[in-house]
């Protein structure tokens, strides 16, 4: 009887351990392994061969002969100001795009969360609906909309609001449109998930204690939705920094984003080591601030208790 109980307990523990390990296994397989490969290539030298870089380990007649690693690729990134400018420009464009998503997505998530439950489902479906069409096609469709002879210009000309077409395509404006359009659902969903859980009594309590509606929003709703804001911003900002499709299709020649540089290094210059170094630096640029931020938040939580 008691034996069985311990056995069951042991089984449950083993099962628990297995389920806990699963996400780590996932991370190991699909995040850490590719990252290590990229890291390895980034310290190699480019050669004209297949693959187009020198191996990390040198093998002699007696086995392992030595380790060959160079930081030239990283040095090159720092010496050439071009890359620094592109990193900054990518961060800036992603940040502005994220901010626009937030300004647009917050009111949308807020109003969805305040609908009666059945209408909420329909509105959420509408937010997710674009995912049913290929991302590439949807970005492509914007060319048709933003073109000098595109739908928007034709419509404005017909209305007589403008007398010659607006240049809306192949510039930063088009890239922002693309980013906001493509990533808005990633902002709305975590915000909605947060706002939907808010207790309406809290707003009543604020009003009861003398807060007008907007004050209640500022004092209660906004601070309580910070986790949703952070979640949404990270989901938009991180992929937007490395975005390739949108600047490639909608951006102009002067639109500087690191995704395009990465593409050029890999496929045009065929300089895999420099391309790998570019992506490692990009990763550090994103991961370090996020880790720092998380630590800050944890410390704040501990201070609050």
């Amino acid at each position: 009887m008691s034996n069985e109980a311990t056995d069951n307990g042991g089984q449950a523990l083993r099962w628990l351990r297995r389920t806990v390990t699963l996400p780590y296994l996932w991370l190991l397989l699909f995040f850490l392994a590719p990252f290590l490969i990229i890291l390895k290539i980034s310290v190699a030298e480019p050669i004209v061969a297949q693959p187009p870089f020198t191996p990390l380990l040198e093998w002699g007649a007696q086995g392992l002969a030595g380790l060959k690693a160079t930081f030239d690729n990283y040095a090159y990134l720092f010496e050439d100001g071009y890359y620094g400018i592109i990193y900054l420009s990518s961060l800036k464009m992603a940040a502005i795009g994220t901010l626009l998503c937030l300004l647009l997505g917050y009111p949308m998530a807020y109003s969805i969360a305040r609908q009666p439950p059945r209408r909420r489902q329909i509105m959420l479906m509408a937010v997710i609906l674009p995912f049913w069409i290929s991302f590439l096609l949807r970005v492509y469709a914007w060319i048709g909309l933003l073109n000098n002879r595109g739908l928007i210009n034709e419509f404005l000309l017909w209305l007589g609001v403008i007398d010659h077409p607006l240049t809306m395509l192949y510039n930063d404006f088009a890239v922002y449109v693309g980013i906001v359009y493509s990533y808005l659902p990633f902002m709305i969903l975590p915000l909605y998930a947060n706002l939907e859980k808010h207790d309406h009594d809290l707003l009543d309590a604020a009003a009861d204690l003398g807060a007008r509606r907007w004050q209640g929003f500022i004092d209660v709703t906004l601070p309580l939705s910070v986790p949703g804001i952070i979640g949404g911003c990270l989901l938009v900002f991180i992929p937007a920094v490395g975005e390739f499709t949108i600047p490639a299709l909608l951006g102009g020649a002067d639109t500087l984003m690191i995704g395009r540089v990465l593409w050029d290094e890999f496929f045009i210059n065929r300089d895999w080591p420099v391309a790998s170094a570019v992506s490692v630096v990009l990763l550090l640029l994103l991961v370090v601030p996020i880790l720092w931020f998380q630590r800050l938040q944890r410390r704040e939580q501990e201070a609050g208790s």
Partner: protein
């Protein structure tokens, strides 16, 4: 200071609130006196919470007016009313500390910072939470949260404090303790409290006056004693406490008394006092509380008493008192509760005993149905 009757602090005039086709509050008029601890008692869905939200200003009445301290508050938004509400869920701001929660109302009033600090400290001392001022609400027990909610609602010194089921979320022991604390606090502060509750014993112990609500209307307003001993109608009689009800017809009237013949009692007739005259033949309802009934195996003296006969069907012994269910010949059951005044191992009345139930005519309640 003067002898004129105190003017009511809250005057509710013919207030009606409809949600779509449903009437939640139906032409309610009510006066709540200054310094009173007033309870609104009713089962869930009777409209008591809607009435409270109308007082707080969260709902706009469909018709009718609300006056507080003589001023018409009907169209005044909640943030401008001299009224504060303690929510059933407490609704503490989870991202603020205890002190920040309590300070919030004063901040919105633009009270100077040092004054806020004083007032918050004062309130926290009053509810004995000084030590927890820096904590977040999630780190507090249910009882502590309740006290924070109370302090936060009282910090602005409202003319009227509304409490929505203030004790419902507490466990039984804490509830009794808090009940007395709440009543004490109200006495010390002199603030007018309106408590909404579904718990009749809570209303009875806390309140100086009770309004019993049913289906959006006020069924009766009175002191706990009036509501319990002199229920205005059948609903109040059976909602507040336990009661035995007999439907019957008046057979004779005279000397301020009625004789009532009830189907469930066979040939026995009950007598009940009546101030007004009710014509013989009228259908009425007669009632008696379980504790007013004396149970005995010997026939009691019938002078000025109603007597019925039955068999003990069920009995529950609680130590201090016993509860009997006595079945009459007609099959109807009566509840009787008796204090166990004598120390004895053997109970005087046992299962299946033939017993006489008797009670004073003056204890008999007349309900016009």
């Amino acid at each position: 200071m003067n002898d004129s009757p105190p003017s009511p602090l809250v005057q509710i005039r013919e207030i009606t609130k409809k949600f779509g086709g449903v009437t939640a509050v139906d032409r309610v008029s009510l006066d709540i006196l200054r310094g009173e601890l007033f309870a609104i008692l009713g089962s869930s869905g009777c409209g008591k919470t809607t009435l409270l939200r109308l007082l707080a200003g969260f709902e706009e009445p469909t018709s009718g007016r609300i006056l507080i301290d003589g001023a018409d508050m009907t169209d005044v938004p909640p943030y401008e009313r001299p009224v504060n509400l303690m929510f059933q869920s407490y609704a503490l701001f989870p991202h603020m500390t205890v002190a920040q929660n309590v300070a919030y109302g004063l901040k919105k009033e633009h009270v100077p910072a040092d004054r806020i600090r004083e007032r918050v400290a004062e309130m926290l001392a009053m509810v004995k939470l000084e030590a927890l001022a820096g904590r977040k609400p999630e780190k507090l027990s249910g009882g502590e949260q309740q006290r924070v909610a109370l302090a936060r609602a009282l910090v602005k010194r409202p003319k009227l404090l509304l409490l929505d089921e203030p004790l419902a979320a507490l466990d039984k022991k804490l509830r009794q303790h808090t009940q007395f604390e709440l009543a004490n606090l109200q006495y010390q502060l002199g603030t007018t409290f309106v408590v909404v509750t579904h718990d009749q014993s809570e209303a009875m112990t806390l309140a100086s006056r009770i309004a019993v609500m049913a289906e959006g209307r006020i069924a009766q307003v009175g002191t706990p004693g009036q509501v319990y001993e002199f229920p205005a109608n059948r609903y109040v009689a059976s909602f507040v406490g336990n009661i035995n009800l007999f439907d019957g017809r008046v057979t004779a009237a005279g000397n301020g008394q009625l004789s009532v013949k009830c189907e469930t009692l066979g040939s026995d007739e009950l007598s009940v006092m009546s101030a007004g005259a009710i014509a013989p033949g009228s259908a009425i309802c007669v009632a008696v509380r379980p504790e007013k009934i004396t149970i005995s195996r010997q026939a009691p003296e019938a002078k000025d008493r109603n007597v019925v006969k039955g068999t003990v069907w069920d009995l529950a012994y609680f130590g201090d008192q016993s509860l009997y269910r006595v079945r009459l010949k007609s099959g109807a059951e009566l509840q009787v509760s008796a204090q166990n005044l004598r120390r004895s191992e053997k109970m005087t009345v046992e299962w299946d005993d033939e017993v006489f139930l008797s009670w004073e005519i003056a204890s008999t309640v007349l309900l016009q149905s």
